[in-house]
Symmetry: C2
Subunit: 281 residues, 2 copies
């Protein structure tokens, strides 16, 4: 086999993920007991490394046995924050600042009496956190029908930070067809998402096969894979280089690699190295 | 000739115009000297009747020779209001409440630091008034290109009350393609405009010829005529029944009539009566 490997210029860790990991690494460096409420980021391999360094993911406040707790990059429901503040556990907030901004937008719209609409995945921890700030919000996806909105509504719209800009626009286009008095749209999609998606589409257009590297539980990684497939190129979503089946490379001369915002450099390097070995370069 | 005459169920005076005329009629009833700054509404025949009753339209504050002045339905630039309040002239505000609402939206967006975009006709008195409340606003039409907007902008959009909802939606769709942080849309298009346009399109679809009655200087009347033409039916814009050329009715069996929001009942009645005479019914 002989092929060229190209890595998307924008891929891997975004600012918010890098920041959360730095915060976590600093916290465990003290040697104290540190938990994270849910996995810190959506990448099992990184979580495993952090666990070895002393960061224990727990699912419930009750499972925290003292020490410090880190709020993960996706943020939490404000009730959980309040419950934690009632305990002796020290809270370290690693919520991505862009998620925090989305939470603030949700709170502003909710307290301002807007009918709040959130484009996102109802079960994603970020969306659950947003719902804590706008409890009556409706969570929609771009392909489904919009829920019935009151007439003459003041509608507020925001999105989970990792949604597609095109989907966001399509929701705005649907909302604006309603009878509304005010439509207030906060563009909470993070720029890292946008530029990773653009770079992935561009690369997908010039290769024979794409590998999208990242956690299977990572929304933005799944979106990257979907986008590459939609661009018409054979696409494989891998968590690690070990999952690579060399047979799928047969007959291809240009191989593309991209990675989600929660995929670390070392996992990307491992995959690229493995591909280069297979190519004999 | 034998044809059926159908009048659009929603046509003629809107709430704001009716209110302005009531305010003006009450003001002149006292016998005092009353001016209006610009024509009270955009209908020359109504203005002529009001002039006979004692309401004198003037173009400039300097031309007001005492007594009272009525602010017309389209509103004014706040500087003019301030200048008037510095004089001894009594100001009677007949600004349409819906125009006032649009002015408030413009002021809110402007003082809130938004980049303000107004869908409207730059030289229309209502738009001039709106610009008084949002001096840096950009006035756009739906068919032209949008001006360059700053990156990460907080964009505020509103419309002249008599614009087409479809045009408004198309501006939103263009704006949402920009790189923006917040897009805040106030739907300031008045419902009377919307229902008159809907009724006109429906009627246009079931007749051979349409007559749109109203001032040639009336934006909403011009829009009604444009909409009927776009629906593919022969359309004549008339100010009065006298302008009707019977020859254009030749061979037609269904005649439609609609009228702008500043067209009085008596002008509509005159046209319908004239058409019925020609039809011999």
């Amino acid at each position: 086999m002989k092929f060229q490997v190209m890595v998307a210029p924008n891929s891997g860790f975004c600012f918010g993920v890098r920041r959360a990991i730095e915060i976590a690494s600093e916290a465990v460096a003290s040697g104290e007991k540190v938990s994270s409420l849910g996995p810190l980021i959506h990448n099992p391999q990184v979580i495993e490394r952090l666990r070895k360094a002393g960061l224990e993911p727990v699912e419930e406040i009750g499972a925290i046995t003292g020490g410090k707790v880190i709020i993960r990059s996706h943020g939490v429901h404000p009730e959980i924050m309040e419950r934690l503040l009632d305990t002796d556990i020290e809270v370290i907030d690693a919520t991505c600042p862009l998620v925090k901004k989305a939470q603030q937008a949700a709170a502003l719209l909710s307290s301002g009496g807007y009918t709040v609409v959130i484009l996102g995945e109802p079960n994603h921890p970020e969306v659950k956190g947003l719902l804590g700030h706008a409890p009556a919000a409706m969570v929609v996806d771009a392909n489904g029908d919009l829920p019935n909105l009151p007439r003459h509504a003041r509608i507020g719209l925001l999105a989970q930070t990792t949604q597609y800009p095109a989907d966001f626009r399509s929701v705005v286009e649907k909302l604006v067809k309603n009878d509304f008095e005010e439509l207030r749209v906060f563009n909470t999609i993070c720029n890292a998402t946008v530029i990773r998606q653009k770079a992935a589409v561009e690369l997908a257009g010039s290769v024979d096969i794409m590998f999208v590297l990242g956690g299977r539980n990572s929304a933005n990684t799944n979106h990257l894979a979907e986008i590459c497939r939609a661009a018409g190129v054979e696409t494989h979503h891998l968590e690690t280089a070990d999952e690579l089946d060399p047979a799928c490379l047969q007959g291809y001369s240009r191989v593309g690699v991209t990675a989600g915002a929660s995929t670390p450099e070392w996992l990307i390097d491992q995959l690229v190295k493995r591909l280069e070995e297979l190519s004999g370069t």
